[in-house]
């Protein structure tokens, strides 16, 4: 059985993790793969500014840097920003799959121009910069804002009636601008996938589930990332990084720390 660790970019409790885990329903996977979801110990409160990006990169790195040692066969990252991916690839030999770059490249296997959705303007600024830095702007029809501030824990729960039509209108604007494939701009939008797929005349890529299928594929093909662009560090500092986040988790009263304690107690009881 292949074991995959999915890193969730915000500190959260069991309920929040369950909302993220629900993405597994969006894809049919073989019987020989299983997924554990692990939120970061501590991190920024929002994800909208470069101040948050620097914090989240290292938060996700800290949550996943021991994955190989813990017996995982691959790592997925549950954010379209690909936060922490490059750093994790540089210390891990197992595949590290993240949905940002992957979903754009995958969309181009289905069409010629993709559209991306952004919950609000700060996310659109970040997304446009990201597309440009990947050199993919000639293939991006537009990044469309539907103007509902994101809720990273509860996602869309209770707000579907208001949010879904706005998302649909944003997708239609992208189609008018030439998009022939639509990508949900965040893994937190996964609950809208079925609705949008039904209403739109073009394929809609659901980034989180895409990574689960991709990870199954690369494991089956025995592929992993190239070491060339992700060289191993000359010196690593795992203990220092863990110490930083343990301190931050305590200070923030992180729900992830409580979750970890619960899991440890359960393990003890089982023994």
């Amino acid at each position: 059985m292949a074991k995959v660790l999915v890193l969730v970019p915000f500190a959260m409790d069991r309920k929040g993790v369950a909302n993220r885990r629900a993405q597994l329903k969006g894809v049919k996977l073989g019987p020989k793969i299983e997924f554990d979801f692990r939120p970061v110990t501590a991190g920024p409160q929002m994800y909208m500014s470069a101040h948050d990006f620097a914090f989240m990169d290292i938060a996700i790195f800290e949550a996943g840097m021991d994955a190989e040692k813990e017996g995982y066969d691959a790592v997925c990252i549950d954010t379209m920003s690909d936060s922490g991916m490059d750093a994790l690839r540089s210390v891990l030999d197992i595949p590290v799959i993240s949905p940002g770059k992957a979903s754009m490249l995958f969309a181009l296997t289905l069409g010629n121009k993709f559209g991306l959705m952004a919950a609000w303007e700060p996310a659109a600024i970040r997304t446009r910069k990201f597309v440009k830095s990947l050199g993919l702007d000639p293939f991006c029809a537009s990044v469309e804002v539907y103007d509902v501030p994101p809720d990273y824990i509860n996602l869309m729960a209770g707000k579907e009636d208001k949010t879904l039509p706005k998302m649909l209108a944003a997708c239609k604007r992208a189609v008018d601008k030439g998009a022939d494939v639509m990508i949900l701009g965040s893994t937190t939008m996964h609950q809208a996938h079925a609705y949008l797929s039904e209403k739109l005349p073009i394929p809609v890529v659901n980034p989180g589930p895409l990574t689960y299928k991709l990870v199954e594929t690369v494991l089956a093909m025995k592929l992993s990332h190239s070491r060339q662009p992700y060289p191993k560090p000359i010196v690593g500092h795992q203990d220092v990084i863990h110490a930083m986040f343990h301190k931050a988790g305590e200070l923030m009263n992180s729900p992830t720390l409580k979750l970890k304690e619960e899991l440890a107690k359960k393990k003890k009881k089982r023994r």
Binding site: A50, F55, P233, H237, A248
Partner: protein, 280 residues
């Protein structure tokens, strides 16, 4: 009665963030960059090292650490009375994060040197101590989309000393750099040369005198740009660097204090260097 206006203009204070913890002669070697530069009496540069840092800047792991440790080092710059922040590494570590958090200009030498080189010539080349620095420039060039203006690089294949810089090695290093610089012009077609790290500043005078194209020393250039921005009253665009909804100063400062305390317990090397030691 209205108060008489003071004739003395307030001296501008620039904070230069140094990416590794250091003091004494090592910090002096960094400070040399501004001491040798004549930017007039109205501006002064103060150097602040990070509380803790990774060991090198040679890959994505180090870049993630660098962004975070430099953010911490500069978060209080505005409250501390500084007028601008410069970053003493070509990786531009922490620049974007600090631009989001601060309203004063934040200047990174990576983006600044590449754009200045393009103003002075058509194709720029990177002169580096070793090839493991090449990843430092990728991020900026990807962001700017200027790979077609990059003539390439020449490396002298010497691992840098981030503390002593080129001190004591001038006789060996300078001729190597000159030969590599000539190759960069003749073989790569560079018409402007960028020194690949702020830590190479000691070679700038020698190379400028002996090479027929402009040679940019990234640190001092960033100081000049800081002064220019302050003079004309410009700073980064808030549209491109939105402010965070919530800043995490207290957590971030505490985390770096915890890191420094943990690091004091002694080096526990992992990664390639650690493996080498284990084998021994």
């Amino acid at each position: 009665m209205a108060k008489a206006k003071s004739n003395t203009r307030r001296k501008k204070k620039v904070l230069v963030l140094v990416p590794f913890p250091m003091s004494g002669e090592h910090l002096e070697a960094r400070r040399e960059q501004s001491v040798k530069l004549d930017l007039g009496p109205d501006i002064e540069f103060h150097y602040r090292p990070t509380k803790w840092a990774g060991t090198n800047f040679v890959g994505p792991y180090d870049y993630a650490l660098g962004d975070f440790t430099m953010l911490e080092a500069g978060l209080s710059a505005q409250d501390d009375g500084y007028d601008a922040v410069c970053i003493d590494t070509m990786s531009d570590s922490g620049v974007a994060a600090l631009r989001a958090a601060l309203d004063i200009p934040v200047i990174g030498p990576g983006r600044t040197t590449i754009l200045t080189a393009m103003m002075l010539g058509d194709k720029f080349g990177m002169l580096v101590m070793w090839e493991r620095w090449l990843g430092l420039y990728k991020k900026v060039m990807d962001e700017l989309g200027v790979w077609h203006k990059y003539a390439g690089y020449q490396s002298i294949g010497v691992a840098p000393d981030r503390f002593s810089l080129l001190g004591g090695e001038e006789k060996v290093i300078f001729p190597k750099l000159l030969a590599a610089g000539k190759k960069l012009i003749e073989e790569n077609g560079a018409d402007v040369i960028i020194l690949g790290s702020t830590s190479m500043h000691q070679a700038h005078g020698f190379l400028s005198e002996n090479l027929p194209v402009p040679v940019i020393s990234p640190g001092p250039l960033s100081y000049g740009i800081a002064q220019m921005l302050l003079n004309v009253g410009l700073k980064h665009s808030r549209k491109s660097y939105p402010q965070p909804v919530a800043r995490s100063d207290h957590y971030i400062h505490t985390m770096l204090e915890a890191a420094a305390a943990e690091a004091k317990k002694g080096p526990k090397l992992v990664g390639a260097e650690g493996l080498k030691k284990k084998k021994k």
